[in-house]
C-alpha cells in the first residue's frame, strides 16, 4: 500500500527527529503508587479496535464501584506510537495507560516512561504463563505492564493445494526446505512462501524459536547477540532458500502478496495465531481452504515456537493515579467478561492462559471453519513459546533489518553479512544512547 509506505516514512522521520531529544534518559521520577480517594479519571492510548466497548464494561461495572473512569483514545499502532508516547512523556503529558508491544517495553522503561506496578497487581501473575510474564518484568523484580495478547507462531498452508501437489506438512525446517523444492519442481511458477524483509518481527520470532537471545544483561552491561549461532542458522536457512529460488523474496502485506496468497501462487505462510484475521482480508477467496499446523522444528521431536506480535497494558510514570490504573490494567487482561469481550469485539488472542480455552475460543475462527480444533491446538502451541529477550533499541535493530535484509533478499546475496550489519548498528546505537555494552 502506498499509504503505509508514506506513513512509515513519516513515522521514521519522527523517530529521527526525536532521536536527539526524547531518547536521552530523563531524570528518574519517583513512581511510588499513590493511593487516593474520590473519583479518578484515566486516559488510555490503545490501537485495539472495539476497545471502547470493552472499557464501557469497566466504566459501568467495577469501574463505577471503584469510581475509576477510563477514556479510550484510539491510536495507530506501531513504532511511531512508542515515539509519540516518549514525546508526550517528555512534556509530562503521557496518558495514564498505554498499550505497548512487548519489544517496546525496554525502550519505554529505559526512558523512564513506565511505572513499576508490582505492588498493585496482587495475584495477577498466576494468570499468565511464565514466559509471557517475564517479558513485562524485563528480568527485574519490577512489573511494568500486564500482558494482553500474544502471537505464538504457527505454520499455515493451503490444504487443498498441498494435496494437489502431493506435499506433506513439514514438521522440521529441513522438511520445509524439501517441501519448497518439491513444489518448485512440480509447479515452477508457484512458491511455498516468501521471505519478507519487511517483517522484522517475523524474523525475530523465527530466531527466538531457534533459541536466539538478542539482548541480555549481565550486571550493568547489555550484550547484543543478534549474530549469535542460533540467529545465524535461521538467516543462513532462509538466505539459502532465497538464493536457490525455492521461496520467493518479495515482502509480505503488499497488494502483490495479497494477490499471491489469494490466487494460490503462494501456498503457505509462516505466521502467528492472528493469521485468520489477516487472511480474511488478504485472501478472501480462499476461505476454508487453509489449515494450521505447529511451526516446523529445528530438530525432530522438538516442540518450540517463537512469537510474532502481542502487546501489553502499561501504566506511565506521568499518571497521578498509578494504583487505579494498575487495577484497571489487571481487570482488563484477567477478568473473564473483559477477555470474552476483547476476543469478540477486538479479535485478540488473550495472554491469560485460562482465557485461551474459554467460551470465546470454543469455535474455530470463521475462516478456519474446517479446522474445528483450531483454538485447542493454538493453546497447546502457545504453551511452547520460547522465552524472548528484548532490549532498549529494538526499533533500531528492526529498521536495520529492513534495510540490510531488504537489499540482501532482493539481490539474493549473503544473509550473514546482513545479520552482521544489524548487530553492528544495534551495538553502535546502544553505545550512542549511553548504555554500557559488553562485546
Amino acid at each position: 500500500m502506498p499509504n503505509t509506505k508514506r506513513t512509515r516514512l513519516v513515522a521514521s522521520t519522527i523517530a529521527v527527529a526525536l532521536g536527539a531529544t526524547a531518547l536521552t534518559a530523563c531524570g528518574s521520577s519517583d513512581s511510588d503508587s499513590k493511593t487516593e480517594s474520590g473519583p479518578v479519571s484515566l486516559t488510555y492510548w490503545t490501537w485495539t479496535p472495539g476497545m471502547d466497548k470493552v472499557v464501557d464494561l469497566w466504566n459501568k461495572g467495577p469501574g463505577k464501584k471503584a469510581q475509576i473512569t477510563v477514556t479510550v483514545k484510539k491510536q495507530a499502532s506501531g513504532d511511531s506510537l512508542v515515539t509519540k508516547i516518549l514525546t508526550a512523556h517528555k512534556a509530562k503529558k503521557a496518558p495514564d495507560l498505554v498499550q505497548a508491544e512487548y519489544q517496546a517495553l525496554p525502550t519505554l522503561v529505559s526512558n523512564d516512561a513506565l511505572a513499576d506496578i508490582s505492588k498493585d497487581l496482587g495475584d495477577t501473575k498466576s494468570k499468565f504463563a511464565d514466559g509471557v510474564w517475564q517479558q513485562t518484568t524485563l528480568g527485574t523484580d519490577a512489573v511494568y505492564a500486564v500482558p494482553q495478547d500474544i502471537g505464538p507462531m504457527m505454520f499455515y498452508y493451503r490444504q487443498d493445494l498441498f494435496k494437489k501437489y502431493g506435499l506433506s506438512v513439514p514438521t522440521t525446517w529441513e522438511q520445509f526446505a524439501e517441501t519448497a523444492r518439491a513444489l518448485k519442481k512440480k509447479a515452477p511458477d508457484k512458491d511455498l512462501t516468501t521471505f519478507s524483509a519487511n517483517d522484522s518481527g517475523l524474523f525475530a520470532g523465527l530466531a527466538q524459536q531457534a533459541g536466539a537471545k538478542w539482548w541480555t544483561t549481565s550486571g550493568d552491561k547489555w550484550k547484543v547477540g543478534i549474530n549469535d549461532a542460533a540467529t545465524k542458522k535461521v538467516a543462513d536457512f532462509w538466505g539459502g532458500l532465497v538464493k536457490e529460488g525455492a521461496v520467493d523474496n518479495q515482502p509480505m502485506y503488499t497488494p502483490a502478496w495479497n494477490k499471491a496468497i489469494d490466487t494460490g501462487k503462494q501456498i503457505a505462510w509462516v505466521s502467528a495465531v492472528w493469521a485468520p484475521g489477516t487472511l480474511t482480508t488478504a485472501a478472501p477467496q480462499t476461505k476454508g481452504k487453509w489449515a494450521m499446523a505447529p511451526l516446523p522444528q529445528w530438530s525432530a521431536g522438538d516442540n518450540v515456537t517463537g512469537s510474532w506480535g502481542g502487546s501489553s497494558t502499561a501504566v506511565t510514570t506521568d499518571s497521578a493515579h498509578t494504583a487505579a490504573a494498575a487495577k484497571f490494567a489487571a481487570w482488563l487482561n484477567t477478568d473473564g467478561g473483559a477477555l470474552q469481550a476483547l476476543a469478540k469485539d477486538s479479535g485478540i488472542y488473550p495472554a491469560a492462559t485460562n482465557a485461551q480455552t474459554s467460551g470465546a475460543f470454543a469455535q474455530p475462527p470463521a475462516y478456519f471453519s474446517n479446522q474445528s480444533d483450531f483454538y485447542t491446538e493454538a493453546a497447546a502451541i502457545a504453551k511452547t513459546t520460547a522465552p524472548s529477550a528484548w532490549g532498549p533499541n529494538v526499533n533500531v535493530a528492526y529498521t536495520t533489518f529492513n534495510d540490510a535484509f531488504g537489499t540482501a533478499a532482493k539481490n539474493k546475496s549473503d544473509f550473514t553479512a546482513a545479520l552482521n550489519t544489524m548487530q553492528d548498528a544495534t551495538v553502535a546505537d546502544l553505545k550512542k544512547q549511553g548504555f554500557e555494552v559488553s562485546e
Binding site: Q75, G151, N258, T281
Partner: protein, 301 residues
C-alpha cells in the same frame, strides 16, 4: 499550427535553406517538452487513477482482479465507511475542513498583514526580520513539530483544536509570498496618494492595497490549505483524542490496527479517494483567480 507551417514551407518555393529548416526545428523542440509533460502527467495521474479504480472494488476484488478494471463495490465501500465507528470518518473530514479552511484563512490574514507591512514600511530591522523569515522558509516544518509540541504542552494546549491550528497560522512561506506580491502589486505611489488624501493607514491597507493583493493572497490560501489538509506529523504529535483527528491521521489509524488485525484496505482506499475530492473541487473553483493573477501581473508591469 506548426505542422501547417511545415507543409507550407517547401511549397512556398523555399527561398533560403534557413527558413526551410526553421519550422521543423521548432516542432522538434516542442516535441521534447510535450513528451516530458505527458510523462509527468502520467506519472502523477496514474496513482490517482489507481485510487479511483481501487475504491470501486470490493474487498474480494481488490487484489484478485486486474488493477485497472473497475469493481462493483463503490456504494458498499462508502456504506461501510459511513458505518465505521458511527461515522467517525465524516467527523475526521469535518475536522480536516476546519483545520485547513479556518487555518488557511487565518494564515492568509496574518500573511497579508505582515507581507504588506514588510513591503510598504521602512523600519529598523526590516531586512533582518525578512532574512529570518527566509530562513524559516527553508526550515522544513517537520523538524519544528516536536519543539512546537513541547512548547504547547507548557501552555497546556496539546490535544486541542488550537494545538493544530496555532502552529500553522504563521507560515513563513505565506508571509514571504505576500511580501513579494505586495511589493510588486501595490505601487508606493498609490499608498502615498492615499496618505495625501488623508486616509488612515488601516484604510489604505483595507481599501487600496488589499484588493490589489487578492490574487497573491489566493495563492497563499491555496498553498496553506493544501499544506494543512495533507499535514500528518503535526496533528499526529499534538492530538491523542481521535475525535479531533484530521483525515490523514484517521486513515492512518485504520491502516495500523496492530499486527493481529486485518488492515481495512478498502475503507482506507475509499476514504483516501473521498478525501481528495474537496481538494480537487477547491482547485477547480479557485483556478479562475489564478488566471487573473497572471493577467493582472502582466498589465501592471
Amino acid at each position: 499550427m506548426s505542422s501547417l507551417a511545415v507543409h507550407k514551407a517547401p511549397s512556398a518555393a523555399g527561398t533560403t535553406g534557413a527558413t526551410q529548416s526553421r519550422p521543423p526545428l521548432r516542432s522538434r523542440i516542442a516535441l521534447v517538452p510535450t513528451i516530458t509533460l505527458v510523462l509527468g502527467a502520467i506519472y502523477t495521474l496514474l496513482p490517482v487513477a489507481w485510487v479511483i479504480i481501487a475504491s470501486t472494488k470490493s474487498g474480494r476484488e481488490l487484489f484478485s482482479t486486474f488493477t485497472f478494471l473497475p469493481g462493483t463495490g463503490l456504494a458498499d465501500n462508502i456504506k461501510q465507511l459511513n458505518a465505521y465507528r458511527d461515522g467517525v470518518y465524516w467527523k475526521w473530514m469535518g475536522n480536516s475542513a476546519l483545520y485547513a479552511g479556518l487555518g488557511a484563512l487565518l494564515s492568509t490574514v496574518v500573511s497579508s498583514f505582515s507581507g504588506y507591512a514588510l513591503a510598504t514600511y521602512r523600519f529598523r530591522g526590516r531586512e533582518t526580520m525578512f532574512n529570518v523569515l527566509l530562513a524559516g522558509v527553508l526550515m522544513p516544518p517537520i523538524i519544528l513539530a516536536i519543539p512546537q509540541y513541547l512548547l504547547l504542552a507548557k501552555a497546556d494546549l496539546t490535544d486541542s483544536y488550537l494545538s493544530v491550528m496555532l502552529p500553522q497560522i504563521l507560515s513563513p512561506y505565506g508571509v514571504y509570498l505576500a511580501r513579494i506580491y505586495a511589493a510588486a502589486a501595490v505601487p508606493g505611489d498609490v499608498v502615498e496618494a492615499g496618505r495625501m488624501d488623508g486616509a488612515s493607514e488601516w484604510r489604505i491597507f483595507t481599501r487600496v492595497a488589499l484588493p490589489m493583493m487578492v490574487p497573491g493572497l489566493v495563492t497563499v490560501f491555496l498553498f496553506q490549505f493544501v499544506a494543512i489538509w495533507n499535514n500528518f506529523l503535526l496533528p499526529y504529535i499534538m492530538l491523542s483524542d481521535d475525535e479531533k483527528f484530521p483525515i490523514t491521521l484517521g486513515l492512518y489509524t485504520l491502516l495500523e490496527q496492530g499486527s493481529n488485525q486485518p488492515a481495512l484496505y478498502t475503507l482506507v482506499i475509499t476514504g483516501a479517494f473521498l478525501a481528495v475530492l474537496p481538494l480537487i473541487a477547491l482547485f477547480l473553483v479557485i483556478q479562475r483567480f489564478w488566471s487573473l493573477d497572471l493577467l493582472s501581473g502582466a498589465v501592471k508591469s
